[in-house]
Symmetry: C2
Subunit: 295 residues, 2 copies
């Protein structure tokens, strides 16, 4: 999965130049959004053959206001044209009508008295489960209606995951294991033909010891695996993610692909292509080995 996390101050040189050539009448937000869009299109074009999806980090687009939202829509459209799924990484979490409004924004849109307003058309969205079952169910319902899915934060890849997610409960287990149990339950009604449910989990690649336990608790969940590359995780440690098959683990990388040229040298696009290809090969080789061993 190609993570799209565009810092307007660190775009690929050519994309940057494209932005600077925009008409004088544009606001800084419009010019920056145009440059971000050009950067993301170039990244997608360079790496699409090695990826299954893009994962735009919504914060980066929101920082550019209304033009940022327009750029996000154009990025999603470009990814779809290249045959890629779109994973909207917004980590939303809220209840009833609010969750439904977020789901409308990210999936298929809403009917209003003024006509249908399109959503982003995402195939998967990341959601935050802190507020509990009623913060997840509206997303799951909306995803199911749209033929899409959700990825629930279960055990994230950052150091702060230890602060609350890892807390030991008085009965047994941890907070994240309790979240995992709810993910498994909610996914039960959304099983696909391949044996994967439409309720997946975000499980950080930086703590591989958690992966086997997570797979025990969520046998049918697709795992989104952040933290490879810039955050220190290694593809080689991710084997349990692939237990349900190759699609059980989505390895996502952002900075290590977009910034590959800084360490390897050469054109940004060529370096990104090589790094994306390297990660794809590593993930597939690992999943093939794991699946052979299991059968």
């Amino acid at each position: 999965v190609l993570g799209l996390d565009p810092d307007p101050a660190a775009l690929w040189p050519r994309a940057d130049a494209g932005g600077a050539l925009a008409p004088e009448s544009d606001t800084p937000a419009q010019t920056a959004a145009s440059a971000v869009l050009a950067h993301c299109r170039a990244l997608i074009d360079a790496t699409a053959h090695a990826c299954v999806a893009v994962k735009p980090q919504l914060a980066r687009f929101e920082a550019l206001g209304a033009p940022g939202r327009a750029a996000l829509g154009a990025v999603a459209e470009h990814a779809r044209e290249r045959g890629l799924l779109v994973i909207a990484d917004g980590k939303r979490g809220d209840i009833d009508v609010t969750a439904a409004a977020y789901a409308s924004a990210l999936f298929g849109g809403i009917d209003t008295p003024f006509g249908h307003v399109d959503g982003l058309g995402a195939d998967l969205v990341t959601v935050n489960p802190l507020m509990g079952r009623d913060a997840l169910e509206p997303f799951v319902s909306a995803a199911r209606a749209a033929g899409s899915g959700v990825l629930v934060l279960v055990r994230t890849s950052n150091p702060g995951a230890a602060d609350f997610e890892d807390l030991e409960l008085s009965g047994a287990g941890t907070v994240w294991e309790r979240i995992a149990a709810l993910v498994d339950e909610l996914g039960g009604a959304g099983m696909g033909e391949a044996g994967l449910s439409d309720v997946g989990a975000v499980v950080g690649a930086t703590e591989p010891r958690h992966l086997a336990r997570a797979r025990e608790l969520m046998a049918s969940a697709t795992f989104l695996l952040p933290g490879v590359g810039a955050q220190g995780g290694r593809v080689e440690d991710l084997a349990p993610a692939f237990a349900p098959g190759r699609a059980g683990g989505l390895v996502t990388a952002s900075r290590s692909i977009a910034s590959a040229y800084k360490s390897s040298g050469g054109e940004p696009a060529a370096a990104a292509r090589a790094e994306a290809e390297r990660l794809r090969e590593a993930a597939w080789e690992l999943s093939d080995r794991f699946i052979s061993a299991a059968s």
Copy 2:
């Protein structure tokens, strides 16, 4: 606090008509966003004298795409012109560069190579602490730099709050009490002259038995108190929130104000004004009583 949670299908009649008269060339999103903006302006004008802040629910604006983001900015501007603070209710939660990007979007914006891109200019934002300390610190830093503050979800007002927030830990206490301790710690470096810190807490008004405990754990935090009205909470139960003074408790209501005319009859604006005034009087009378009793 006037909650702004505009459903495009349930706007005030006059605001709705205004939207329908928009030029034919507008997209449904633009027309809906214009109508939502007119509705929010009318709500603000009707109730500003009884409120200290508006709290736009970001999901509702995001569901209208780029025009929704533009409408959100105009709503915030209108609220500021009426002397109100702006509480951006997005419940964001993410780490390092992503959290910083969200903070830029909601507070003061970012400097880019293309010029400064304005943020929403919020005075307070709601944040989700699930991912831990490193998901909160970037928001706190950005808020402090902007002279603004954050409101951390501690114990929310929905039934699902029992699923994870209320879990008992193996040592002692609950998950939400552990979150409260971190809120108190982070706020220590941001105390204002009035004895309130710049790190506040969202504590639902639907479970008043938690409020006294929350106040013990977070003596200097401003409490945002959702759940009054449509969700069943009563202002009369909120006394502990006001222990640090009147500004220690922010009573927020959305649907009960905007939809007051449906039960009381009459003009939407007059009914909203009366309901907002009723809540303000109840909160102030209660806070006065509590502060007198404590002194």
